[in-house]
């Protein structure tokens, strides 16, 4: 079934390559064939629901750095699900992918989220604004080079920042992030805790220099 779909698609789009996948069929596609391919999947193969648009960050310096992934589900064929991955064009700071809002109106918010957190610019999107972080936030937090604790910046409202003196600051990590131990029977031992408890904010890790991130 899955091999059938990929080979059928390959007959139509010769530049497609099957993508290793543990569960559902997946294909790697060149960026310029994404829109025709998704239109073909929607109109001829019954994949009428775009469940997600997301991206993979392959780490700074990788080429390509970002890959967009479109997740498609069929509401008419039980269990039919396919992923289409395509390497982004554009620069490392401003990767570009085609918008599929012309095919699914629901792609709008998926692409805004992907833009907000990963910084992928979707060409042809009607209103590509941030959706989770506030307008004017200078970073894309799900990128590999963004620390979990965050980077110091301004509050979204100037008046409140002036009145309270509050800023967006890096969260104290103190040996974190905190992870639960899998397979632990003793629930006290299974509590989420820092991997390395030998240091904290007051007693810094020996030889460790705090992250000072420069604005991109």
């Amino acid at each position: 079934m899955s091999a059938d779909l990929v080979s059928t698609l390959q007959a139509r789009f010769p530049r497609l390559a099957p993508r290793p996948s543990a569960d559902h069929p997946a294909v790697n596609a060149p960026l310029e064939e994404v829109v025709p391919l998704l239109r073909c999947l929607r109109d001829e193969h019954g994949f009428d629901l775009l469940t997600d648009v997301t991206a993979i960050d392959w780490a700074p310096g990788a080429a390509p750095r970002f890959t967009v992934v479109y997740h498609l589900l069929s509401t008419t064929r039980a269990g039919a699900y396919v992923r289409v991955a395509a390497p982004c064009a554009g620069t490392e700071e401003a990767p570009v992918a085609p918008s599929v809002t012309s095919l699914w109106a629901g792609a709008d918010w998926h692409e805004r989220e992907c833009f907000d957190l990963m910084g992928v610019r979707f060409e042809g999107h009607p209103d590509l604004r941030r959706i989770l972080m506030w307008d004017g936030y200078p970073y894309h937090p799900l990128r590999k080079d963004f620390p979990l604790a965050g980077i110091e910046t301004e509050l979204p409202a100037e008046d409140v920042a002036a009145e309270t003196g509050a800023r967006v600051v890096a969260a104290p990590m103190a040996g974190g992030p905190f992870v639960a131990s899998a397979g632990e029977i003793n629930l006290t031992e299974a509590e989420p805790r820092a991997k390395d408890e030998s240091w904290s904010d007051r007693a810094p890790q020996p030889g460790h220099t705090p992250l000072r991130q420069v604005k991109e």
């Binding site: 970073y139 965050g150 409140v160 309270t164 509050a166 969260a171």
Partner: protein
């Protein structure tokens, strides 16, 4: 020895039509027994806050059952949940719109300290933007814990020099 007099309350015939008290005591008595909350429900703590308002825990016993969604009619803001940096200015603006005297209860780990959200998106404690009077631990706190916080706050308000502040305001 049991006396025939069963009157335990105020007897106007004996004591006259006048009560002598401190202005602070009178003002604070009025304030503590009708603290209208501004329910700043931002996450799962708000569910426990709703339970406090319900019949089982019944915050009405302490005169704080009138949840006001207009900050101008509220006395105590109960910050129940995770405050993100995106939401923080709105929390502060709502606090600014409340009429004085006003108090703040930080309900739960997130509102008190950021809780388990040690991340780029979460304000690490609502006391960075508004002055907090009572912190409630728990994730989320039991409804009884919030009632206890309210009683603690009432105890705090009873000790305030209310008359002096009113005159100097």
């Amino acid at each position: 020895m049991v006396t025939a007099n069963t009157e335990l309350g105020y007897n106007s015939k004996v004591e006259g039509g006048v009560i002598v008290s401190r202005a602070d005591a009178a003002i604070n008595w009025i304030r503590t027994n009708s603290m209208w909350p501004m329910p700043m429900g931002l996450a799962c703590c708000a569910i426990e806050l709703m339970a406090v308002g319900g019949a089982r825990f019944d915050i009405a016993r302490f005169g704080a059952e009138v949840m006001r969604f207009s900050p101008r009619q509220a006395d105590v803001m109960i910050v129940a949940g995770t405050v993100t940096y995106k939401m923080a200015p709105q929390v502060r603006r709502i606090y600014d719109q409340m009429a004085s005297p006003k108090w703040v209860i930080a309900m739960g780990a997130c509102a008190s300290s950021g809780g388990m959200y040690r991340s780029y998106a979460t304000l690490q404690g609502v006391d960075r933007i508004v002055p907090v009077d009572v912190y409630v631990s728990g994730c989320p706190p039991r409804p009884e814990a919030l009632l206890d916080a309210l009683m603690k706050l009432q105890g705090q308000v009873r000790r305030e020099p209310a008359a002096r502040r009113l005159l100097s305001a």
